[in-house]
């Protein structure tokens, strides 16, 4: 799929419209994971809009988003960056063999208090 088609697919899945973004950076200011991200939420918006998708698809930033929706709630333009990040992440993990988390990874991550909720949530976000 070329990047124009991929961009359309991302927009369709997310229901988001990056053209509305005005680069005010409020989403990035609200993001609890800002410091852990190579590409910050406002950059996701711009890069999706530009069709500059390859760096995003390969970036670890896809797996730092908490889906906490602070970016969407505080956006003055209704852009909802987390939806775009999620749509790009799905493009990455839906490729064959590209699950970001596998059942084999789980035993090493367990501790006696870890709630099931953490495991199912991580699978839902990081795998197809």
């Amino acid at each position: 799929m070329n990047t124009t088609d991929l961009k359309q697919e991302i927009l369709r899945r997310s229901g988001g419209d990056p053209r509305r973004g005005m680069a005010c950076g409020k989403c990035s200011a609200a993001c609890p994971s800002y410091d852990a991200m190579e590409f910050h939420p406002h950059q996701f918006v711009r890069m999706v809009n530009d069709g500059n998708l390859l760096p995003l698809l390969q970036s670890d930033s896809l797996y730092k988003c908490l889906s906490c929706m602070a970016c969407a709630e505080r956006c003055p333009r209704g852009v909802e960056p987390f939806r775009l990040i999620e749509a790009v992440r799905l493009c990455a993990v839906r490729e064959q063999g590209q699950n970001h988390l596998t059942p084999n990874d789980i035993p090493a991550l367990l501790d006696p208090d870890l709630p099931q909720q953490a495991i199912v949530s991580a699978f839902r976000k990081f795998t197809k």
Partner: protein, 262 residues
């Protein structure tokens, strides 16, 4: 009053006290939580992508169960609540999604989000009423300075959750006051604890939870209260002297029906 109750996966395992005291407190306040039959895990997080259908069907099933019983659907866990309410909203507003769901489920009567979904807090505020709670509490929580922690999932997206003001909520503070405790004012109450990122980047989850706990402690809180098992897990890792407890445990304490630790 009887309601359909969706406990969710973690309330049956690591967070049994959240479940136990949700039932007991509701009963003490005149509401019976009838557990939905054969419910399935909600998946923990809502997938925002519109082309995800199958991952939302467990929520659809429990919503339909409540619809068939003509009861509101009550959840306690913030995550379950978020997933179920967002799914219900998607059925109301996204006709392509609703069509795909109903065709798959072969529903004779289309389910398009008719069920009223209530978080336990909304049950307390809107159905039982905080005044009725105030009449029933003991002075067990008197003098306790408690920080209400909302996190992300109770309030956002606010247009769908419609529980409270997403940036200046008061539902938990009002409940704390009704329970005889002193709610503290603090800035980080609606910031994310890190959630499932604990599976991907433990240090990141810890640093996010640490910022929240520090802020609660600086506001003079002796306790942080949450409705979410994952929030509690993350916050407890960095809690120090501050207690992190479930909403329903605290309510049971206020109502004088909490069991003493063995």
């Amino acid at each position: 009053m009887k309601v359909t109750y969706f406990p969710g996966c973690t309330l049956k395992t690591k967070a049994t006290e959240l479940d136990l005291y949700a039932r007991r407190c509701a009963e003490a306040l005149g509401v019976t939580l009838e557990e939905a039959e054969d419910w399935q895990c909600c998946g923990g997080v809502f997938t925002a992508s519109r082309d995800e259908i199958a991952t939302k069907l467990s929520s659809v099933r429990v919503l339909q169960t409540a619809f068939e019983k003509d009861q509101p659907l009550v959840t306690v866990c913030s995550a379950c609540h978020n997933v179920v309410k967002q799914t219900n909203h998607a059925l109301q507003t996204d006709s392509a999604f609703a069509e795909a769901v109903n065709r798959y489920m072969q529903n004779p009567v289309p389910y398009v989000g008719q069920t009223r979904v209530l978080h336990y807090l909304e049950l307390l505020r809107d159905e039982i009423g905080f005044d009725a709670i105030r009449d029933k509490v003991t002075d067990a929580l008197k003098g306790r300075r408690i920080a209400a922690y909302y996190g992300c999932l109770l309030l956002r997206p606010s247009g769908v959750m419609r529980m409270d003001d997403p940036e200046n909520p008061r539902i938990m503070e009002d409940l704390l006051t009704a329970m005889g405790a002193t709610p503290v004012l603090w800035a980080q109450r609606n910031e994310c604890c890190g959630g499932y990122i604990a599976m991907e980047d433990r240090a990141l989850a810890l640093s996010e939870s640490e910022a929240i706990l520090k802020n609660a402690a600086a506001a003079g809180a002796d306790t942080v209260v949450t409705a979410c098992p994952l929030c509690r897990y993350n916050l407890q890792k960095v809690a120090g002297n501050v207690k992190v407890v479930y909403l329903t445990e605290l309510l049971a304490e206020a109502l004088g029906i909490k069991e003493e630790p063995q």
